[in-house]
């Protein structure tokens, strides 16, 4: 075989190996993502009385890292909603953003209207897999009787993705039902990490751009600087809306005009909101506030590496 033929053969072999390599690679999961294991949260509602512990209800939630869950307690005159947004990073630390809302019937007004006592807390917790989260809906209490919710996180051996590459579905196993359904558990998996890009357009021409990584329900500032001015946009993703063919997010933001150094803020628009399709632009017209035609344009995508259903 002459040299030319050999070169053609080598070239063909290289091309075919590249193409076969791409076919072998999974279409759904990256090699790194396929190593991910599912997480488990065991949630037990316990009554502590005179040194004794009685399990009132018990459930196990299993899903990919980043699974969120809600615990609701519904009594005749007391209600609690505890929301947990979980993130598990590479250092084996579980970061949990909790939101606790309680509502208690206090009594009745002289007009006979019900009076409620409400409370809201948003604690952030960081814990390892050798730690538990303890939630006391009625506080530490001084009496003998206490209600306690214990949340035990653990890693399972089951991969996040099935052999076919599909994301394994989230499961909730109820081991013991609470009497009269007083305790309810919900779980969900939505993306927490996003990449947001903001652009400022003057008469249809881009004059400033900024991008940032956004964490679900955490506000992040983007500073857009042009030659003549600068605006600061504080952007937050409030809600992930599962929609087909493309998912959506509900956003909320404030706009401030800043000097070139980024200081001296003057409000331009506060508490603006909208629903954006992931990967598509969403525009806001700022012309009323400026002499020229200015537009603020957002484009939000799910961050790379985020587990998506």
């Amino acid at each position: 075989m002459n040299t030319r033929a050999k070169l053609i053969l080598i070239l063909l072999a290289l091309v075919s190996s590249m193409m076969s390599g791409s076919r072998l690679r999974s279409t759904k999961a990256s090699p790194v993502a396929s190593d991910l294991k599912r997480m488990q949260f065991q949630i037990a509602t316990i009554r502590e009385h005179a040194g004794e512990r009685t399990i009132i209800s018990s459930s196990v939630i299993e899903g990919p890292p980043g699974t969120d869950f809600d615990i609701d307690i519904q009594g005749e005159r007391f209600k609690m909603n505890a929301k947990f947004l979980t993130d598990f990073d590479q250092s084996n630390v579980l970061a949990i953003r909790a939101k606790l809302q309680t509502r208690r019937l206090y009594g009745y007004s002289p007009q006979g209207l019900p009076l409620y006592e409400e409370d809201e807390q948003s604690p952030a917790l960081r814990l390892g897999l050798d730690e538990d989260i303890i939630l006391l809906p009625f506080g530490r209490g001084s009496g003998e009787d206490r209600l306690k919710i214990e949340i035990t996180p653990a890693m399972t051996e089951e991969p996040v993705y099935s052999p076919s590459g599909e994301l394994r579905p989230l499961t909730i196993n109820i081991l013991k039902i609470s009497p009269d359904g007083i305790v309810n558990i919900r779980a969900s998996k939505i993306p927490h990490h996003y990449e947001a890009e903001a652009r400022l357009l003057e008469d249809g021409r881009e004059i400033a751009r900024a991008s940032a990584n956004l964490l679900f329900e955490e506000a992040q500032e983007l500073l857009l600087r042009s030659d003549t001015q600068a605006i600061a946009v504080k952007l937050k993703i409030n809600e992930f809306i599962r929609s087909r063919p493309s998912d959506q997010v509900a956003i909320n933001f404030d706009i401030h005009r800043a000097d070139k150094s980024g200081n001296t803020r003057e409000p331009v628009g506060l508490n603006w909101s909208g629903v954006a399709r992931l990967g598509a632009d969403i525009n806001y017209d700022l012309s009323e506030r400026y002499a020229k035609k200015y537009e603020l344009r957002f484009n939000i995508k799910i961050a790379k590496g985020e587990i998506v259903d």
Partner: protein, 143 residues
């Protein structure tokens, strides 16, 4: 020596015999020395008994009097109060009005609220036993 009439002497002296029988005993007595002696003995004995000094026990007397009086008294729980019907009706009306006013004033006091006390859930788990008004607490702990 004995006589059949001797045993009738004491009843005759106490006036316990019938008139005819008493006359018979008196007639016999006029001629019977034994019965005459017996009558003298009875009379002497009576005089001795009468002349014997008697002092009654004061404390025993008082206790006896108390027992007598107590037996004549009605127990407290068996006593009855008699009231005219209009008076009794007015008293009941006044009592009812007082109770109603006290309840109404507690409920409608300005700015007052009726705090929810102990309450029981219908069935199953009673959340009120845990609720002492404390604030929810969340923390982490090592296993």
């Amino acid at each position: 020596m004995s006589c059949n009439f001797t045993e009738k002497l004491s009843p005759m002296m106490d006036g316990e015999l019938e008139r005819e029988e008493a006359e018979q005993v008196k007639l016999h007595l006029s001629s019977c020395l034994i019965c005459q002696q017996a009558q003298l003995d009875f009379l002497n004995l009576r005089e001795q008994i009468k002349s014997h000094p008697y002092e009654p026990d004061a404390s025993a007397q008082r206790q006896a009097i108390k027992r007598i009086l107590r037996s004549e008294q009605t127990p407290f729980w068996q006593r009855k109060i008699t009231l005219p019907v209009p008076v009794f009706s007015l008293m009941m009306l006044a009592l009812f009005a007082f109770v109603a006013w006290s309840v109404y004033s507690r409920v409608t006091r300005p700015g007052a609220t009726v705090p929810v006390g102990n309450y029981a859930y219908q069935d199953g788990l009673d959340l009120s036993r845990f609720d002492k008004g404390g604030r929810a607490v969340i923390y982490t702990t090592k296993r």
